[in-house]
């Protein structure tokens, strides 16, 4: 009954213990469910839903023009909903089905077969388990938010049916395998000893790269650079960003799977790294253009959240502040200089913030976990910073390659079947009316 899967942060504990020790299926008579853990994991699961809708939906929605507002809300909602269904049908099995392949979880838990009220899932502490249903629900929310992040890259011009088809294929062939590789005890990257506490690679780099591929293949929005494409509601964007921050504690502190001191460290780091990234984005903006904008603060917020995601369980609070201060200038550089130089239209900066921020976070995780820097220690066997950083970089590169190639292939398949872009007239008139038959606002 017990879930074989192990989550990445586990690596920390286990590597210190010297072996991956996944034999928790061997008679463990003292398995215990703590209601405090269950309470926290239920809370965490709903917090991640809160991140998707309303959080991400409003964050992205505020950034588009009025005529495309509902399309963003619909895409986010529909992607999350479809992926939840797919998760129960085959996604959970593909990711955590108990198979021993380093690349996927097999078909053992298709339709959640075999999972009952008595099934349990392991945590990072031996003998402490969770009801498997809450593990399924928690991981489901991760599977649901990741593809929704990609919306930021193709917003305001992609075709609804194409998006739906893409997402079903993408979670199946890109997300579930990578989740397995990073978080399952049998997974390839997991066994490299790379640290990804809450999903820097699986979620953010993965979605960021897929977004970049979409942006390049789709081409820019009509009128880009000529028409005013300013956010239709910075209010919604800032409110959405705030909801992301609030919900992100489910993401980050939830990934600890238990309500222990380590979860509270992840929480504190998620507070202060984000705060620091808000401040540093504003400082850069103040320096470059004389004014700190709300969109800058919101962007820094998300960048900080992304960067601390892989690191939150293994970094000290001062290290977290450092990471936050660091990530914003780098993302700022990408969304301003690099994007305009290479002329891809990553409409809402899915790549520039999630992809880039994720890479910065993943690599810095290898450095900031150093005990000398206040971290909780290296996880790779070699036990050196160099080896850890190397493991992190390998994980990043594999994610980039897998997501990049996978996304590209899928987009072209989708293009052939449903098409991926709306007509110029429809784009001009706006997706709300042309794809969904309604308007976001009336008076």
């Amino acid at each position: 009954m017990k879930n074989l899967s192990k989550i990445a942060g586990l690596a920390g504990v286990l590597a210190l213990a010297g072996l991956p020790a996944l034999a928790q299926d061997a008679a463990a008579p003292a398995e215990v469910i703590d209601k405090g853990d269950v309470a926290w994991m239920m809370t965490s699961s709903l917090l991640v839903l809160f991140m998707i809708i309303p959080g991400l939906a409003l964050f992205y929605g505020g950034l588009v023009r009025t005529k495309n507002m509902l399309s963003v809300l619909m895409q986010t909602t529909m992607i999350a909903s479809i992926v939840m269904i797919v998760w129960v049908l085959w996604g959970y099995s593909f990711a955590f089905g108990g198979g021993t392949s380093p690349f996927w979880g097999g078909l053992g838990k298709i339709f959640l077969s075999g999972v009952t009220m008595d099934s349990t899932a392991a945590t990072f502490t031996d003998g402490v388990v969770l009801p498997e249903y809450v593990f399924i629900a928690f991981q489901m929310t991760f599977a649901a938010i990741t593809p929704a992040l990609i919306v930021g890259a193709f917003a305001e011009r992609a075709k609804f049916s194409g998006i739906v088809l893409f997402m079903i294929l993408w979670v199946t062939f890109v997300y579930f395998p990578i989740a397995h590789m990073v978080w399952d005890g049998a997974g390839l990257i997991f066994n490299w000893g790379a640290i990804d506490f809450a999903g820097g690679t699986v979620v953010h780099i993965n979605a960021g790269i897929a977004g970049l591929v979409w942006a390049i293949v789709l081409g820019p929005r009509l009128g880009l650079g000529k028409e005013n494409m300013a956010p239709h509601s910075m209010t919604l964007t800032m409110a959405g960003a705030a909801m992301l921050w609030v919900g992100w504690f489910g993401f980050n502190a939830g990934s600890n799977l238990e309500a222990t001191a380590n979860a509270t460290l992840a929480m504190l780091n998620t507070f202060v790294a984000t705060a620091a990234a808000v401040v540093s984005w504003s400082i850069v903006e103040g320096w470059v253009r004389g004014k700190a904008s709300g969109l800058g603060a919101a962007s820094g917020m998300v960048a900080g959240l992304v960067a601390i995601t892989p690191a939150c369980g293994t970094t000290g609070p001062v290290g977290a502040i450092f990471l936050g201060l660091l990530v914003s200038p780098i993302c700022f550089f990408f969304v301003t200089a690099i994007k305009s130089k290479f002329k891809y239209d990553d409409s809402l900066d899915a790549f520039g913030v999630h992809g880039v921020g994720g890479i910065v976070g993943a690599i810095m995780t290898g450095i900031l976990c150093a005990p000398s820097l206040g971290g909780t220690g290296f996880v790779v066997e070699a036990g050196t910073m160099g080896a850890q950083v190397f493991a992190q970089i390998k994980a990043v590169l594999l994610t980039i390659v897998w997501s990049g190639i996978g996304s590209l292939v899928i987009i072209y398949i989708v293009k052939a079947i449903t098409g991926i872009r709306v007509s110029a007239d429809d784009e001009r008139q706006g997706l709300d009316l042309t794809a969904h038959g309604e308007s976001a606002y009336h008076s």
């Binding site: 300013a230 253009r289 904008s293 962007s299 969304v335 301003t336 200089a337 305009s340 900066d349």
Partner: protein, 112 residues
């Protein structure tokens, strides 16, 4: 009758309306517009995308008055709307052939 169209600064609206009421104007239509003129707009930057907003928020008044009152209306607006800064606005006067009050069907000067 004359139609007097005036573009003024939004925060002057109340003052102008009051001044006009004093001289006997009993109705007008007010529209929020974007003005383009010597007063320059501003630049907004969103994550590196820079937008020059060439328009400035203004308020447009449209007032129909009897011929006799037209000059006084123009003068009154001139005085009340003035801040002596660029962008104070313009006043235009056109001829109106006919006016009708919907409720009563009264026409021309009686309709105002």
């Amino acid at each position: 009758m004359k139609l007097i169209i005036a573009a003024i600064k939004p925060f002057k609206l109340e003052e102008v309306r009051e001044a006009l009421t004093t001289i006997g104007v009993r109705g007008m239509m007010v529209t929020e517009i974007k003005g383009f003129g010597a007063q320059s707009g501003h630049t907004e930057i969103y994550r590196g995308a820079e937008y020059a907003v060439n328009f400035v928020p203004k308020v447009k008044l449209e007032i129909v008055v009897a011929d006799g009152l037209a000059d006084e209306v123009v003068d009154t607006i001139l005085k009340a709307a003035k801040t002596d800064k660029i962008g104070d606005g313009k006043i235009f006067v056109l001829d109106v052939g006919q006016a009708v009050r919907v409720r009563t069907g009264e026409t021309n000067d009686d309709a105002l």
